[in-house]
Every structure is written in structure tokens, then in C-alpha cells.
Symmetry: C2
Subunit: 273 residues, 2 copies
């Protein structure tokens, strides 16, 4: 069994857990490489930032990090998912402040395509499902992920790797499971996530690494027009790393990109981690 | 044990259930009176409307109604909670369409205050946590309830019964667990829920019953100004029915209302159900 609930090998949680009842929790999906969790400190920082924002008393940081390290070592390559919920409580939305959090850790095999497909540019499409404006929860990776589910259910075509999501004002915010980057000259742009969207750890790593590649990182509102004017477009995700975007579909319209050097350079640096 | 999962007496669900992983499901909280589920058809209609919107293949309607009736009969007065999730799936947001839904039914005691406090006007406050704009999920009672949790965590004062929530444009939308009504003359107003909020079954019953009381129901945008101009304000919820609002707090400001006749008349009709 590859799942641990509060440290015990198990696959069962109490139906009263607020993670199920209300989506009252946060999660991280991490890449295991050579038996280690990539960017583990970034994942832990975001997890605890989410707990603080939701006033969830999270697990002990040192014990949690130890547990992640120990479990990651069970596989050379894999995907490690961590969920922290507020735990079980009484009926009703109100947290009493006395709940004990539930932590769920699951270790999965790495999808084979992650190792083989990295440098191949992907096709993405524009989704019709908008991301709701939600300044209070923006950037966090909470268990309230229905918008991503509904957006991801929009297409079946396996050749399309990802869907781009707009906010209700038609700004492009992120993919269903990834963040978006546009390069024009030495400017590296990514949507600002102050109103909705998830601030990925790979996005953070890219923004922090951009300077080393003489790129100037900018967070701002991104429109469809910006995608067509960009010289290079790519997407990021903690598990897959970076994927260059070759084609963007909006209905029958196609935007094509053929510059991939920034994503390739970043991917090489990422491989060194 | 007062919980049934897929028809079996149990309190444990699989951690891979998409209800936990993503909040991928819907729920109903129902009032049991004299061993029967009040407004059961309205609850079932909303539940299946939510399933349709999320493309969840729900349980058989006839079997589910039979199960609710059978379980409700175990208590004279109570609260019956029904959760339907998309069920367990593979990793990733995408539903395959082959998931088998999970249904969770739990029967709880009725909080004593529900029977004793009905006619007493309540104090409510304005919450700082906004409701995100989300036209695609507006009106549905999905398992993505973090906004309600965060709003409900804003206050500890037990004398405050409910918090009113604004959308990001400062329209008043609903309470954390209830819907809002304002009466002026024969006009009965309630916030329109096309962009966010949950469309309660008690709200529906009130809108459908208003005509019998020679009230003219109107769904529209409601502002703070409307609350101060209204002759009467009350809130509704499937479990408690209707509660008149006596005081509304916004910071140090207090709005006071002393007309309760519409809520009282509606409550009398509701008691006949």
C-alpha cells in the first residue's frame, strides 16, 4: 500500500473529515527524482502558507519533512501527493480551532511520458470554464478544485496536453494544472495571481531562476493578444517541469509558436537540481 | 452508527475519492420532521441538477429517495446530510466518465435551539470574506465550501447567528449557511444568484409560496442600502426554516429591524408541511 494517513499505512479516512465535507484543506503534488522530493522546501512553504491563511494548525514541519523524505526514498522516480485537511469536526462550517489536522501522503509511479516527452512542444486549448475571482484564496492550492475539474472535462482529445483558463474578465490566468509563461525579448511574463489561480512551486522556481538566464521576470495581466505577440510560450508544473507550447487553440483559431530555447535552457538547469 | 456509505453502515471512505481530492461532488442538508424529510423533492432536484452540471452520474433517483425515507424514519426530529461525490478515480483532474459515484448519508440529532429559538429575531454581521464570482458553479451546493468556512471563522461571538457575504462587487449575496430576504411593502426581494452563492431549497419554497401571501417575489442585486431601506429582513435555511433578523452589524454600525410579520406568516405555513 502506498498511502499513509497520519503516519499509518491506510487508505481510509473518516467521512466527517472537513477535507471531504467542505474541501477544507490544502495539498501539494511533488516530483520524486532519484528518491528525493524536488523543491521540497518550496512545497512546504506553500503548504504552510495555505494553512496559515485558512487558520489550519498544520502538522509539525520537521516531522512532516522527515516523513516526506522517508517515503520519497521508496521510489527512484515518482509522484508524491500530500494533503493536509483541518481534520474531523462537528457539523457546520465553523472551525472550533480545536480540530486536529489530517495528513495524507500517497506515493505514485511517475507517468512514463514525463521522462520521455519533456522537450516535445505541446498543444493547449483555451477553456470555456472561467476561474472565479477569489482574492482571499488566490494563489493557494486548496482542496476546492472544482473549476479545474470542470475545465479539464471540456476536452477528450489526448493530443491536447493542457487547457488555459481565463478569469471572468478574460485575463489568461493559468492552466488547469500548470502555470503559464510568455517570453518577448528578455522579458519573461507570467500572469499575476492576486485574484485567482494557483501559484505553482515550479512557477516560483522559474521566476527566481530567470535572472541567471538574463531574463527579466514580470508578473502582470495577460490577454489573448499577448499570447499571439509573444516570441515563446511555455507552461510549468511541479511534476513535469516545463513544457514548451507549440500550438494554442481557441475554437478554430490556431496560434503557432516555434521558439523553444528559454524553456530548453530552464529545463537543463532544472535537471541539475 | 448513524452513517451509510453506498448503502452500508460505515464511516470510512477511500482517500482517493474525488470528493476529498478536489471537492468534486455536491451535498444536501435536510430537515427531518416527524420522521420525514422536509422538502425532499426540492433537495433531490437540486442534487441532480448539481450532478448534471458537473457531469456526475448520480445514484438511482428512486433508490436514493427510498433510502432517505428509510433513514429519516429512524428519528422523529433530525438533520439528514447527503453527499454525492464523483467517486474514486485515477490521479488528475480529468474525470474519465467511468467513475462510480459515492453516496454518503448521515443522520444527526436536531440542535435543540432549532425547536426553541425559531421566532426569536437574530443578530447577523457583515463578513469581510467575499464570495468569489463563479458563474459556472453559482447556485449549486458543491463540496467547494472554503469561502463559507473562512467567512464563518471570522467571528466567535455566539450571540451572532449568521454572517452576510458580499460578492467582489459588494452586492450582498447570502449568508454563510442561509439565504437572505428583504420585504418592502408587498415586494419580497432576494439576491439573484447568477454569479455566486447557493440557491437554498428553503429559498425556493419561499419564492414559490410568496404569492399565496400576496407578496411579489423579486430576484435582484441587493446592496447595503437596500438592507437599511427594507421594512423587514429575514433569512432562510433548510434545517432551521426562517429566522427574522433584528440587528445587522457592519463594523460598529448597527441596522435594526422590528417588523417580523412576513417571516412569522411564512413560518406558520412551513409548519403545516
Amino acid at each position: 500500500m502506498n498511502a499513509w494517513i497520519n503516519g499509518r499505512n491506510s487508505t481510509r479516512i473518516d467521512y466527517r473529515d472537513r477535507g471531504l465535507q467542505y474541501g477544507d484543506g490544502v495539498f501539494e503534488t511533488m516530483r520524486v527524482r532519484r528518491g528525493q522530493v524536488r523543491l521540497v522546501e518550496y512545497h512546504l512553504e506553500r503548504l504552510y502558507a495555505g494553512c496559515r491563511q485558512l487558520k489550519i494548525a498544520g502538522p509539525s514541519l520537521l516531522a512532516l519533512r522527515r516523513e516526506l523524505v522517508r517515503i520519497a526514498a521508496l521510489r527512484s522516480e515518482g509522484v508524491l501527493k500530500l494533503i493536509v485537511t483541518r481534520g474531523s469536526g462537528r457539523r457546520g462550517y465553523r472551525p472550533t480551532g480545536r480540530e486536529r489536522c489530517t495528513r495524507i501522503i500517497a506515493l505514485h509511479a511517475l507517468p512514463k511520458t514525463v521522462l520521455t516527452d519533456g522537450p516535445t512542444p505541446v498543444r493547449v486549448r483555451l477553456c470555456a470554464t472561467p476561474l472565479g475571482l477569489n482574492p482571499r484564496l488566490a494563489g493557494l492550492k486548496t482542496l476546492n478544485r472544482l473549476e479545474s475539474v470542470v475545465a479539464r472535462a471540456e476536452w477528450q482529445d489526448a493530443r491536447i496536453w493542457e487547457g488555459l483558463m481565463l478569469d471572468v474578465d478574460e485575463n489568461i490566468v493559468c492552466g488547469t494544472m500548470s502555470n503559464l509563461f510568455l517570453r518577448s525579448g528578455s522579458s519573461l511574463m507570467t500572469p499575476v495571481l492576486d485574484r485567482c489561480g494557483v501559484a505553482g512551486v515550479m512557477r516560483r522556481w522559474i521566476l527566481e531562476t530567470a535572472g541567471d538566464l538574463r531574463l527579466n521576470p514580470v508578473e502582470r495581466r495577460i490577454r489573448w493578444q499577448d499570447l499571439s505577440e509573444a516570441e515563446e510560450v511555455f507552461m510549468s508544473n511541479a511534476v513535469v517541469g516545463l513544457r514548451s507550447v507549440g500550438v494554442i487553440e481557441r475554437g478554430r483559431e490556431r496560434l503557432r509558436h516555434s521558439a523553444f530555447e528559454t524553456a530548453n535552457r530552464l529545463r537543463k538547469r532544472l535537471d541539475l537540481l
